[in-house]
Amino acid sequence: MTSEIVRFFSVQVALIAVVLVLHTYIGLHIIRRTLIFSDLVLDQLAAFGAMVGVALGVEYGTAGSYLPALFAVLFGALLLAWIKPKGQAIPREAVIGIMYAMALVASLLLGDKLRGGGTYVTKTLAGSMLWITWPLVTVTTVVYILILIFHFKFHRKFIDLAERPETVNNEKFWDFLLFVTQGIITVLIVPIAGVLLAYAFLMIPAAIVAMFTKKWLLAVVFGWTIGFLACLIGLCCSYFLNFPYGPSLVLSLGLFFILATIIRCLFPSNKMGFVKGGE
């Protein structure tokens, strides 16, 4: 019994620790540029791709189902980088939001034609992180480390993209690369964690730290620490109190976010300047 608990926790904790580093960093880009819906678009497209795989006879959650998901996500990254409304009348976030609605609708319409389609829609929302195995953790870790190296090498470009986009040549190309890396981690994490938890991993730790610091490294370190702590609490609640897995983790992260919001409201600061939001 004890070894089972140790096994359960060690696999989960290892995966969460790896996942949170990259998610917090990319999340900071998303929060600072107000591209909030982009993750849901990619999550939903990954889920849609996996459902297309099911329609083609590939079992959900297997290695084969990653391929259609990857294709769908690459297509999404291309659209996200390419479609950028000119002028102020239409915010970029609106276009991204519409893409999300379309991806969700595509999943729902496909679900209509699949046997037990409704359960797939729910499954992709809730995820199945309880079934994590060591090989899966290894693959995820390797891919995440590769992407981390890539982001480390080109961090100046990506940070310029967020802070001084006018100085970046080939803005759409770098945007595309950002969305592709976001998409790849999405493809890996959505079948395990589900759309909602993947979104929470990306957004919540980053949003918490973005309220308190503008420094990127400090934000990643603190974001990771807070996110990891929140996930541990959620994990324990899920295991010992028998609560649903994904929602427990999201709610735990959410509590930390609400706490951070309360602290920021009680001690408002204008030092960091106003975030205009939107592009």
Partner: protein, 279 residues
């Protein structure tokens, strides 16, 4: 009466009513760049409704369900209005996006500890437009009329806040109040609409027609006419598509809106000439 009118008559009426009010609200949502607001408020309302069913054991569409939904919407409206006046480090859209994740996780959490999970989620997502009843249409007409009148009375302060939403944070008490009033009224419309049509349809009615009209720089009156034509036409086409090809009604309407947006984006120059607007 022909069967097609028997089946699609009431859903079309519901779409018609939603088009009128959601189309107008969409212009404000786009200006404020709070694209997530409707999904977040709809999700909050859904949490209220699920809580009423699972915790308070309410049945069907009883008054308790609406009271709980409205309570959650009020809470969210107050939170957004207050937080926007205090936090300027991250955009309000990010805060709304995260509150959506927390609300969605709460819904999954409540459903996870209660039986009958995925049908409920499917229902919240894609709604039950096909099963509209006359009572629902009459109630919606009455509520939307009252709220439409409220918006008419408060159009000046709300429009002035919407127009300057991205320029800075609101510190004054009156701005917080009008913000709160806007979110409450929007929340009521969304709560009622989501009960009828589901989150995706409501989102699409709010954002897509407003985005289409924003492609052309039009005077407000002409903009509203374009919005209403677009939304009503999409309802008509979507319902027929669902009827003849056997798809869910809600997602089909959203798909039609999406197709309209793509067509208008591609043909914007000849259309702009037709509408005699500057390019």
């Amino acid at each position: 009466m022909p069967p097609i009118i028997q089946i699609l008559g009431l859903p079309f009426l519901a779409c018609f009513l939603m088009s009128l009010i959601l189309g107008y609200l969409g212009t404000h949502v786009l200006k404020r760049e709070v694209i997530f607001i409707d999904i977040a408020l709809a999700q909050m309302a859904a949490v209220g409704s699920i809580a009423a069913h699972t915790i308070f054991k309410a049945h069907g569409d009883s008054a308790l369900v609406y009271v709980c939904s409205f309570g959650c919407v009020l809470l969210a409206a107050g939170f957004y209005a207050f937080v926007r006046s205090r936090i300027n480090q991250i955009s309000i859209e990010a805060i709304i996006g995260i509150s959506y994740a927390i609300a969605a996780a709460t819904a999954l959490f409540l459903l996870g500890i209660a039986p009958g999970g995925h049908q409920h989620i499917q229902h919240i997502l894609s709604g039950s437009l096909l099963w509209m009843r006359w009572e629902q249409i009459i109630v919606s007409l009455a509520v939307f009329s009252v709220i439409g009148f409220c918006f008419y009375l408060t159009r000046k302060p709300i429009a002035s806040i919407s127009n300057s939403y991205q320029k800075g944070t609101a510190k004054s008490l009156s701005t917080v109040f009008w913000d709160f009033a806007f979110y409450v009224l929007l929340g009521v419309v969304i709560t009622l609409s989501v009960e009828m049509a589901g989150i995706v349809v409501v989102f699409a009615f709010l954002i897509v027609p407003a985005t289409i009209s924003a492609i052309f720089r039009l005077h407000l009156h002409l903009q509203m006419i374009v919005i209403w034509i677009v939304a009503i036409l999409a309802s008509f086409i979507g319902l027929l598509f669902a009827y003849y090809f056997d798809f869910s009604v809600g997602p089909a309407v959203v798909l039609a809106l999406g197709v309209e947006l793509v067509v208008v984006s591609l043909c914007r120059q000849p259309m702009a000439r037709l509408l005699k607007c500057p390019q």
